[in-house]
Symmetry: C3
Subunit: 437 residues, 3 copies
């Protein structure tokens, strides 16, 4: 999602134009601009629906007594996420590093206030889309990081501290990490720049590692890890979880497809194809491996496999070759099964598997695109740069999350009381159950 | 959504065309037409999904024993709404007031039969879209008014009388009110024309005021208002309600974005941005105020806050400035909390808050866009015209709804028996529960 | 969905181009190509969401104890369907019959491997869209056939045999039947070619007849047909079923609209209109007839009526006239009511009505478009060809399904034990319930 500021020549990025009548070409370029811009906007709507996907998946996978709490957090996150992105995120995210020697981070003003000419903002800020199309598309991404954490800390986190945490993560840390890559920051200034097409690292691994830190400090749900072994806490509604996973798959066509940042036919078609193939590869990988390991066809694993496939391909849907997109997804789906079992073994309690799906598989996708076997020998990507990027972003997310969670733990406490946890957060914190007879 | 009939010059609404080769420009204009038309169609699909949003929201917020009834009404409404819009609505809605001195209302024939040349109908009827694209987009809006009423009268209205009521409201009253504004009627002939971009007044306040009249005549659900005060009747499934609210938010990108009536990049990008910011402003306003007033984080209020933000901005997503769209939404979200509590105080029982969300907040949005603080000093809108418009449409909806509800009450009765209400409408009217074990 | 291979002239399919400057026209055609291709991709995403629609509809209509099983099958089907379409389907489906005298079927290699120049594959393979856009759009259709069967055999079929069955049906039989029509096969070589725009026969009737054969061999659910008559087995969640039906309606705009295979304004607008009118006609037809026959307003029938309307129009949304699309849908909706009651009478147990909705109504839609009353006297279609096509495809689907089901029955058995059926497949096969308290 790196962007080129508008130049006249950038408008003529298609064949056969050089010799044509200038006035007509302006008209043609204007029409091309309309399509490209429209696709960014439609993609923004598709990414928006991913928030319903997350809400349904997370609330479906948690217990019946904590559903209102999960949904409330998700509604808050989408509201807060778009607002903070408006006030601090957008301009922090794209601070114009070209003129910034340090290139670490930069805080800007509210979206729309960084240029003198407000009218210009509303039309062509970039080669292929308007200023506001760019803003709204990016804003829809912004809340994702907090949503990932929300799932991992569900069923025992205190509401108000989580809301503060989420605001800091989305309003401050996410745009900083994003600026390192998409804002032209240090990840982009390496000899072979870090490659992360739509955010396996910058969105997903970022969220996953923030979640890991938060879960370590928060502890497991009561009764999950007993002396007698791991006691599974079953999802309260698998249809709700399935609705969520399918909507995430649907929205991902906007997440990855919109990240082409134009409606370029070859690029968007390829991205749709590799995205879908990786998703179904992931579903298949998780179905097969979980069946072997758990001796039964496991629906939750299948759903997380679809998502793992999607996270796997998100770093390089335009770099990984079509046949290899299946393999990369398949491995991602297998990884998620092993990872979920592993975190349960080391007593890291993640009710929805978010750390595995977004964190662990986010690493996999970021690294996979640099392997010649998967990218067909693409020399514009470097395994070293990929590792530097994912370690840098992951470490930043983990440390940032760890520090603010720790501060929260010391100041107000971040965990509900044992009684509240037993009763469920819906009645304890919200005074209302999710379902009535 | 006012439309310009096709003129050749209207096709060249973009820069740099004047001096170009005519034949080429025809080709360019044709391609521009394809995009604009496609966006109207995609918007129609997005508005369609709002009917699932309404269905899920309304059924989620009502009691478990009345879910089938709510869903059945919604399926009927979408079927009836599109059919009546085909038979009487479309041509009534856009009757060509230019040639009509009275300008009050006019009934036409079925869609497609008002012009001699049927073939022309299927291609370029307007500058930016075909006749049928226009029809299907408008048809998706049409059923909304009845859906709003459906939520407010849920859990005690008799099915068949409601179906007749909804048919009259959607097939007759809605296109008449719509014609006053979008059909070039009297609201449009005021010195400063009434401004209602996508229908805060003409769709939402219209539905809200029709609902108010119906609820007054219908009475509250048994057991809601007792001598001991208001007894809350809890929603049977908040996940279902949340799915509904998110889908409405999603579909609203088509509702407002499609009402640009072209894919104009500056306009659609701006409308997407103000729509989303108002929605999340509304969610935040409702979260904060309900938390203060009710002393708990209330999910239903948060969901209604999102919708209130959306209704708030619907009159002027292209007039209210970007930063002020947040404020207008925020106030809309706060209004809905106060309004819901107020209607409960005066014993107007509205199970889903539809009168508040669509009626009261519809007024707010319509008026807000005329305030210089919110519209940045736009002189094309007038507070007086806005008040005249919302009072005119609101009064018409209220009176029309009151009269037909009263007639229905006298002729067949509009309320189920006490036994049926206690048993629930699902088994009493439909012979089947919504859920089985 | 028949496709034209790229020719330079095919790019200039719009008015006023002949005399223009060549270089400019290349640019204009390029821009037109971007839109057309984008619409195919957006349609692919819309068709994808139909798989969530099917999942929700089928799981909603079945019993609570079999929900995980239904959802698992649907997740598997989308994964398997896209993968087999990649490996064998796409090239089998469009094998280039021009050079194939026999024209019965042909098996190709994996998608993308049938031409020497891989790069060309990624850009303009056809006049209006890229190779991969075509692939992903068609791939989303592919799994549908198995999903239809999945609903009909729900609640008593053994999982693993069904998975093998579905793989053979989708990976082998569907592309063969598809190739007869869309691949330029024998149905297309009749004097008046068989007409099936988006697949009333090739997708829906195909799935419906495959389902019929499977259900005949599988038998009814225990306790459905007793000596005391038919004992209805009620749906476990009608809201879930309603979500499914609405999402199918939503996705159908991509299924039919995308099958225009370009964003042609007249064609796509018309297809959207006839599709929506047929759907609501179908809903209305089912509501009215089921109310008369069953003496109550039946939500399941109303939902199946919407789908029946959609299946009815799918063969000829561009052939059936606009007013007649309502009638064709209305009759489709009435047929589904009668058909569901009929199959119950002859003890063919289809828990979701899939055989009626897709099989019986698929025939209706295929035949209806050839009746002059409905198509306005279109002479490009022939009733005889339509009957030959639907009988040919239906018979092939039935026989193929019958044979492989029979082989499965003999080799491993295709039905769960009576104990497992009584307990429910969720716990018996998946070790987990769909819902917990």
């Amino acid at each position: 999602m790196k962007k080129t500021l508008l130049t006249i020549t950038a408008l003529f990025g298609f064949a056969g134009i050089a010799s044509a009548e200038p006035a007509t070409l302006d008209a043609v370029a204007d029409v091309k601009f309309i399509i490209d811009n429209l696709w960014i906007l439609i993609s923004a709507a598709l990414v928006f629906i991913m928030h319903l996907g997350f809400s349904a998946l997370e609330s479906g996978l948690c217990q019946k007594k904590n559903v209102v709490n999960v949904l409330f957090k998700n509604v808050f996150i989408i509201c807060m996420g778009i607002l903070t992105y408006y006030f601090t995120g957008f301009n922090t995210h794209y601070p114009g590093f070209a003129d910034d020697a340090a290139g670490i981070f930069s805080l800007g003003g509210a979206a729309g206030y960084d240029v003198a000419d407000a009218a210009a903002n509303e039309t062509k800020a970039y080669a292929d889309y308007t200023y506001w199309a760019d803003f709204i598309f990016q804003a829809m991404f912004a809340a994702t990081a907090a949503t990932i954490v929300s799932g991992a800390v569900a069923e025992r986190v205190k509401l108000l501290p989580f809301m503060i945490y989420a605001t800091l993560l989305v309003g401050l840390a996410y745009p900083i990490a994003g600026s390192w890559h998409w804002g032209g920051g240090w990840l982009n200034k390496m000899e072979v720049p870090f490659y992360d097409f739509a955010g396996s690292t910058v969105v997903h691994a970022f969220g996953g590692f923030a979640a890991l830190a938060a879960v370590i400090l928060l502890g497991a749900r009561k009764g999950k890890y007993t002396s007698g072994g791991v006691k599974p806490i079953l999802p309260h509604s698998l249809p709700l979880a399935a609705i969520g996973a399918f909507l995430l798959f649907f929205g991902w066509f906007g997440f990855n497809g919109g990240s082409v940042l134009s409606a370029d036919p070859a690029a968007v078609s390829l991205v749709f194809t590799t995205t879908a193939l990786a998703a179904v590869g992931g579903g298949m990988g998780a179905i097969i491996l979980s069946w072997i390991l758990l001796k039964k066809p496991d629906l939750s694993m299948a759903l997380n496999g679809l998502l793992a496939g999607l996270v796997s391909i998100t770093a390089g849907p335009d770099v990984i070759t079509v046949p290899m997109s299946i393999v990369v997804g398949l491995i991602g789906g297998a990884i998620v099964v092993v990872s979920v079992l592993f975190f349960d073994k080391i007593k890291i309690d993640d009710p929805v598997g978010a750390i595995s799906v977004h964190g662990v598989v986010g690493i996999w996708g970021t690294v996979a695109l640099a392997l010649p076997f998967f990218n067909g020998g693409n020399e514009d990507v470097s395994l070293v740069s990929q590792i530097i990027g994912v370690v840098g972003v992951g470490a930043f997310a983990f440390i940032f999350s760890f520090v603010i969670t720790l501060i929260g733990k010391i100041i107000f406490g971040i965990r509900v009381s044992e009684e509240e946890e037993a009763e469920g957060l819906d009645v304890a914190e919200h005074g209302a159950p999710a379902y009535t007879e």
